[in-house]
C-alpha cells in the first residue's frame, strides 16, 4: 500500500512538471543523439566538473536541487542512477520496506546488493515510481543498472523487459540509458536511448582488488552493428586505476574504434579522474605486482611489469630481484607497448619464514622511474598451502554434484598427440552423454549422444596433471580461437586446486581455473587452449602441452598441465581437488554462440566451485 501511495504522489507531481523541457538542442531524447562525451560520477558536488560533459550520470541524491538546476542550466543532460535488477539495502526505498523480501533471489557479494526477481509486479511498480520521483526532481532520465541480473537468473528476463517497456510507456520523454543487458538489448533497443557497454576492455577483480584487461571484441562488434542498425547511442565505460594513463588510453581508443562514446573512471565511480591523456606521450614502466605461487613444495615469484605510460618503450627492460639485501637474479623483458604487461616467473628455492622481496626495473625510456621498484613482504603463513590430508579427513563434494572423477597414477609420462590409445582401457573414465547432464541450452535441441557427448579420463604423475578426452560431435563448428573459442565447439575444464582451503566458497578465486580447449575446424582454424580464469597472460602458460585429433565421429584431445601452471595444485595419492568436464556444442553453420553444454557436474554454474565434482588422484 505504501508503494502505491508513493506512486500516486509521483504521478500527480508529474502532472505539474513539463514532460519534456525543450532546450536549445531539442528534447533530451534528441540531444543525447549528438553528445560527444559523458561522465559517470557517484560522489557529491563537483558541478563545475560535471558541466564539462554533455551527459552526466549521477546518483539521485548527490546533488542538491540548486546544484542540479545549475548543472542543467549549463547544458548538461543529467540522468539518475536506478538499479532495476538488484535492490541496494542502503537506499531509503529499501529501508522503508518498499522491497518485499520475497522478491529477493540472493546477494551480490561484490556490492552487498540483493538480486531481485524482476517478474514481480510490485518491483516493476517501484521502479516506475522511483523513476517518476527522479524526473520530478529535475533529472532528464534514468540510468538502468544491473540489467545483467537476467544472465544469472534467466527466469527474470521477461520481467526485466517489462520494466523497461513500462518505463518508456510511462515516461515517453525521459532518457533511458541501459547498462549492458546484452541478452535483452534486442528487445529493449527500441525503448532505450542509449546503451552503456560497461567493461568494454577492462574488468575489475573484486577478490584481489585489481584492475584487469578484458577481451570483449565479439560483443563489441555486435553492439557496433546494433548501433549502425538502430542509431542507438552506445556509451563505453571502463574502469582503470587513476595512475594508469595507458589503461585509460586503450579504453578510449577501443571505444572510439567501435564508434562508442568513451568514459573511464575508477571502480567506485567516486571521482572524476584526470588520466593525463592530453599530457606528454611518455613511457612509464611500473613493477605492478609481486606474488607468490606455491603448491607447498615449489615456490614461484610471479612478477608483473606493465607500461602504464602513453608511449611504447624502445629497448629491452632489465629487472633485478633482491631477497633481503641480496640480489638473487636478473632478467630481461622485451620492450613494452602502451598498456602491455610482461611477467617474470622466478623459482624461489627454500623461501624463509619471512622475507622482503624487491624488484627494480631499469629503463631510460621511462621518464617516471619513481614507480620502477616494488617491495613485497613475504610471510609463509600468509600464502595458503593446500593441506594433504588422509582421505577420511578430506572434505569432498557430495554425490549430488555428480560422479567422482579419478586420475590414474602414471608410471611414465604420456605423449601428448591427441591419440588416446595410450590411456588404459581399464582406467576409470567418465562419460557425459545424458540429457540430465545438459547445463546450458535447450535440452529439446540436443538430439542425443551423437549430437554431443564426451568421454574423459584423468591421470597424474609427480610433475603433471593429464586429461584425455574423446568428443562425439556430428557437426564441428569453430571459427574462433583464444579467448573467443567458447563461441564454437570446445571443451571447458574447471579445476579447484585447493579444495580444502576454500571448500565452502561458492565464488571462484585464484585457485579456480577455467580452461577452454578448441579443436579448431580441422581446416583454417587451428586447435587452441586458453586459461580464462584466473586472468593470466597467454605467455605464462605456454608450457601446457595439448594436441587434438579428428576422429570418425568427433575429435579427441590430450592435455598435460605442468603442476606449476595450476597454481596451488598438490599432486599426491588420494588427494582430491575439484573439477568438472564440460563439452560445448555449436551446430549452426557459421555459428558464433554456445548452443549446448554438458557437464560431469549436474548443476554446474559458471564459477561456482561448490557445484563441481571431486577429482581424486589415485594411488
Amino acid at each position: 500500500m505504501k508503494a502505491l501511495i508513493h506512486f500516486l504522489i509521483v504521478v500527480s507531481l508529474l502532472l505539474v512538471v513539463p514532460a519534456a523541457l525543450a532546450q536549445d538542442g531539442g528534447t533530451p531524447r534528441e540531444q543525447i543523439k549528438s553528445i560527444e562525451n559523458y561522465v559517470v560520477y557517484y560522489g557529491s558536488g563537483r558541478v563545475d566538473d560535471l558541466a564539462r560533459y554533455d551527459l552526466a550520470i549521477i546518483q539521485p541524491d548527490t546533488l542538491s536541487a540548486d546544484e542540479l538546476t545549475a548543472l542543467k542550466a549549463q547544458g548538461t543532460l543529467v540522468v539518475s542512477y536506478l538499479s532495476i535488477g538488484e535492490a541496494e539495502p542502503e537506499r531509503e526505498w529499501y529501508l522503508d520496506g518498499r522491497v518485499d523480501p520475497a522478491w529477493e533471489l540472493g546477494t551480490n557479494e561484490n556490492w552487498g546488493s540483493r538480486f531481485i526477481d524482476a517478474n514481480q509486479t510490485g518491483w516493476q511498480d517501484l521502479m516506475v515510481a522511483l523513476t517518476g520521483e527522479y524526473l520530478a526532481k529535475g533529472f532528464d532520465g534514468v540510468f538502468l543498472d544491473t540489467v545483467d541480473t537476467v544472465d544469472l537468473f534467466p527466469q527474470t528476463l521477461p520481467g526485466m523487459i517489462e520494466i523497461i517497456r513500462r518505463l518508456r510507456e510511462t515516461y515517453p520523454d525521459a532518457l533511458l540509458v541501459q547498462n549492458r543487458g546484452f541478452t535483452v538489448i534486442d528487445e529493449t533497443a527500441g525503448w532505450v536511448d542509449a546503451l552503456m557497454f560497461e567493461d568494454l576492455v577492462t574488468t575489475y577483480d573484486f577478490i584481489n582488488n585489481e584492475y584487469l584487461y578484458a577481451d570483449n571484441t565479439y560483443v563489441a562488434q555486435q553492439m557496433a552493428e546494433l548501433q549502425t542498425q538502430t542509431g542507438i547511442v552506445i556509451l563505453a565505460l571502463d574502469y582503470v586505476s587513476p595512475d594508469n594513463p595507458a589503461g585509460a588510453y586503450l579504453a578510449v581508443q577501443a571505444a572510439e574504434q567501435y564508434g562508442f562514446i568513451p568514459a573511464v573512471s575508477t571502480i567506485f565511480l567516486d571521482d572524476i579522474p584526470d588520466y593525463g591523456l592530453d599530457g606528454p606521450q611518455e613511457a612509464d614502466i611500473r613493477v605492478q605486482s609481486i606474488k607468490v605461487e606455491t603448491n607447498g613444495e615449489t615456490y614461484t615469484l610471479v612478477i608483473t611489469v606493465e607500461n602504464v605510460g602513453l608511449a611504447a618503450t624502445t629497448k629491452d627492460i632489465d629487472l633485478s630481484l633482491s631477497i633481503g639485501s641480496e640480489q638473487v637474479a636478473k632478467y630481461t623483458i622485451a620492450a613494452l607497448d602502451i598498456g602491455e604487461q610482461a611477467q617474470w616467473h622466478y623459482e624461489w628455492a627454500n623461501p624463509p619464514q619471512s622475507a622482503s622481496v624487491r624488484v627494480i626495473a631499469f629503463s631510460l625510456d621511462d621518464k617516471h622511474p619513481g614507480n620502477n621498484s616494488l617491495q613485497y613482504t613475504y610471510h609463509s603463513e600468509s600464502i595458503p598451502v593446500e593441506p594433504l590430508l588422509p582421505p577420511d579427513e578430506q572434505r569432498r563434494r557430495p554425490n549430488e554434484n555428480g560422479p567422482d572423477l579419478q586420475a590414474t597414477h602414471l608410471e611414465a609420462p604420456l605423449t601428448m598427440d591427441g591419440d588416446l590409445s595410450e590411456w588404459g582401457i581399464n582406467w576409470p573414465c567418465v562419460d557425459v552423454n545424458q540429457a540430465e547432464q545438459i547445463i546450458y541450452g535447450d535440452p529439446a535441441t540436443w538430439t542425443g549422444p551423437d549430437d554431443l557427448s564426451g568421454h574423459v579420463c584423468y591421470a597424474w604423475d609427480d610433475n603433471s596433471l593429464y586429461i584425455g578426452f574423446a568428443i562425439v560431435d556430428d557437426v564441428i563448428v569453430q571459427s574462433y580461437s583464444g579467448g573467443d573459442l567458447w563461441r564454437g565447439d570446445h571443451v571447458e575444464l574447471w579445476f579447484d586446486t585447493q579444495l580444502q582451503l576454500d571448500f565452502d566458497s561458492d565464488q571462484n578465486s585464484d585457485d579456480d581455473f577455467q580452461v577452454g580447449i578448441s579443436p579448431g575446424d580441422f581446416d583454417q582454424v587451428p586447435p587452441s587452449l586458453v586459461i580464462w580464469t584466473p586472468a593470466r597472460l597467454p605467455d605464462s602458460y605456454t608450457s601446457v602441452e595439448f594436441a587434438v585429433r579428428r576422429t570418425e565421429n568427433g575429435y579427441s584431445a590430450e592435455i598435460r598441465f605442468p603442476v606449476e601452471i595450476l597454481s596451488g595444485l598438490r599432486l599426491a595419492a588420494e588427494h582430491a581437488i575439484g573439477a568438472s568436464f564440460d563439452p560445448s556444442d555449436t551446430d549452426t553453420p557459421g555459428g558464433t554462440d554456445q548452443e549446448t553444454m554438458l557437464s560431469t557436474a549436474h548443476e554446474s554454474q559458471w564459477g561456482v566451485p561448490t557445484l563441481w565434482n571431486n577429482l581424486i588422484l589415485q594411488d
Partner: protein, 428 residues
C-alpha cells in the same frame, strides 16, 4: 659515510712517477674500447650498466666494459693499479678520495670545462671532485649522514606521542626521546634517541659546529679548528642528551647496538643515521611502520657537512679520456639519466635539477619516501674539505674521543684538545 663501506683506508701517498700521457681525441669513427671499474654493489652497478648500454647505443663506435671488485679488494686495487698505470679508463670513486688520486686522474677536458656550470651539482658533492680548482670527476649521488632520523611509529603511538614527529626544537625531540626510553632493572632496553654510532657522532659534531656559526677549519683550510666555542657547545649538548637519559653510550655505540640494527630490532625509538639506512628494513621483514623525519637545527639553517658522494672519474692514462669524460657527463649531468640512477639505486641526488624540478623531485620521493625529509636540506650542505686521511680523522680521532667524553672517561675540554691536536697531526 655509509656503515657498510666503513673501513680504514690508509691512503698511500702515491709516488707519481711516469710520463705525461697525452689524451688523443677520438675521431668519430674510431673504435673506442673503454673499461670502467666499480666496486660490487648491485644497486649501483645495475643502473650504471643501463647507462653504459644507452651511451654505447648512442655511440656505436664506443664500447664500455664494466669490471667490478669486492669493496676491500677495490680499494687495494686502486692503490696498486693506479701507481702502476694499469687502471681502467673510467673509475668509480668516493668523492672525498678524489684529490688523493688527482695526479693520476684526467681533469675535465678544457672545452667541456669552459662551458660546464658547476652549480648544476650540489656544492657538498661536487667540491669533493675539485682539487686546486680543477674538476676531476662528477658525482652521481650525495652522501649525507646528518639531517634526519628514523622514527618508530609503533613506539611513538604506544607512548601517546604525535606521529610522525615534526620537531621545531631540540627540546621537543628530547621530550619525545625521554618518553620513548625504556629502562628495566637499571638497564636501557630502548634508547629514546640513538646518536652514538660513528657517523652520527662525527657528523652531528660537525653540523653542530656549523649550525652554531663556527667552522672546523681555519680560514685558509690549512688546519683543523676543533677546539672552538662552537665545538665545545656541541659536545656539551651531546653530553646533555646523555644526562637526560635518552641514550646510554656504553650500551649503544658503534660496536654495541649499532643504530641501524638497534632501530630495526626495536632497541632504539629514534635513530640518527643516513637515509640509506631505510633500506635496511629488507632484512627485517617483520618490522613495523617507520618514517624518516628532519632533525631540528641548532641555528637558522640546517647546515651540515658531507663527504661528497660516489661518482666517476677518468684515468689520466686513458687513451680516450675525452670519451670517458663524455660518458661521465652523460651518466651524471643529464637529468633524466641521473634520475634513473638515483631512483633505481635509492640514492640522494647530486644534481640540483632533480630537486629544483618538482616533477623530478616527485619521482625521487615516490621511489624513496625517506628523501622527503632530506631533499629540502641538500643546499645547506658543505663539503667536509680535503683531508689526507678522512677515515683516520673521523673514526680514529673524533669518534673515540667523543665517545670517551660521553662515557665520562674524559672531559669535554680534553676531548676537544685531543681531537684538535691529533686531527691536525694528520695534516702534517
Amino acid at each position: 659515510m655509509v656503515k657498510r663501506m666503513v673501513i680504514l683506508m690508509t691512503l698511500v701517498v702515491m709516488v707519481l712517477v711516469g710520463t705525461n700521457v697525452t689524451v688523443p681525441g677520438a675521431a668519430a669513427q674510431d673504435q673506442v674500447k673503454l673499461r670502467l671499474w666499480a666496486h660490487q654493489q648491485a644497486t649501483f652497478n645495475d643502473p650504471l650498466q643501463v647507462l653504459i648500454d644507452a651511451y654505447t647505443a648512442e655511440h656505436p663506435n664506443v664500447s664500455i666494459e664494466m669490471e667490478t671488485f669486492e669493496y676491500n679488494l677495490y680499494l687495494q686495487t686502486l692503490q696498486t693499479a693506479m701507481p702502476a698505470g694499469d687502471e681502467a679508463d673510467i673509475i668509480e670513486v668516493f668523492g672525498s678520495w678524489t684529490c688523493s688520486y688527482a695526479d693520476r686522474l684526467a681533469a675535465m677536458p678544457e672545452a667541456a670545462a669552459a662551458s660546464f656550470n658547476r652549480d648544476m651539482f650540489f656544492k657538498a658533492t661536487l667540491d669533493g671532485y675539485i682539487c686546486d680548482d680543477t674538476l676531476y670527476g662528477l658525482p652521481f649521488e650525495f652522501n649525507m649522514e646528518y639531517g634526519a632520523a628514523l622514527v618508530n611509529k609503533g613506539m611513538f603511538e604506544a607512548a601517546g606521542l604525535n606521529y610522525p614527529p615534526a620537531w621545531t626544537s631540540w627540546d621537543e625531540l628530547i621530550s619525545d626521546a625521554k618518553a620513548l626510553t625504556k629502562i628495566t632493572d637499571g638497564q636501557m632496553n630502548v634508547a629514546g634517541f640513538h646518536f652514538t654510532n660513528q657517523d652520527a657522532i662525527v657528523f652531528m659534531f660537525l653540523a653542530g659546529i656549523l649550525q652554531r656559526g663556527g667552522n672546523f677549519w681555519n680560514d685558509d683550510h690549512t688546519e683543523f679548528n676543533f677546539d672552538s666555542d662552537e665545538a665545545r657547545e656541541t659536545l656539551e649538548f651531546m653530553q646533555h642528551l646523555v644526562d637526560e637519559g635518552v641514550i646510554d653510550p656504553v650500551l649503544y655505540n658503534d660496536t654495541a647496538n649499532w643504530s641501524g640494527t638497534a632501530f630495526f630490532t626495536n632497541q632504539a625509538a629514534i635513530a640518527l643515521i643516513g637515509s640509506w639506512a631505510t633500506a635496511l628494513v629488507v632484512d627485517y621483514p617483520d618490522f613495523g611502520e617507520f618514517d624518516y623525519v628532519p632533525l631540528p637545527s641548532f641555528g637558522d639553517a640546517p647546515l651540515f657537512a658531507a663527504d661528497s658522494g660516489w661518482g666517476l672519474t677518468a684515468s689520466k692514462n686513458s687513451e680516450h679520456a675525452d670519451v670517458a669524460w663524455d660518458f661521465i657527463q652523460f651518466a651524471t649531468a643529464n637529468a633524466d639519466n641521473a634520475l634513473m640512477f638515483n631512483t633505481a639505486s635509492g640514492t640522494i641526488p647530486a644534481l640540483r635539477e632533480l630537486v629544483d624540478n618538482e616533477a623530478y623531485k616527485a619521482e625521487l620521493i615516490e621511489a624513496n619516501p625517506a628523501l622527503e625529509a632530506v631533499l629540502p636540506q641538500l643546499a645547506s650542505g658543505s663539503y667536509i674539505g680535503e683531508m689526507p686521511d678522512r677515515d683516520l680523522v673521523f673514526y680514529s680521532i673524533i669518534y673515540p674521543n667523543v665517545l670517551d667524553m660521553l662515557q665520562e672517561v674524559q672531559s669535554v675540554d680534553d676531548a676537544l684538545a685531543f681531537i684538535n691536536e691529533d686531527a691536525n697531526a694528520t695534516l702534517e
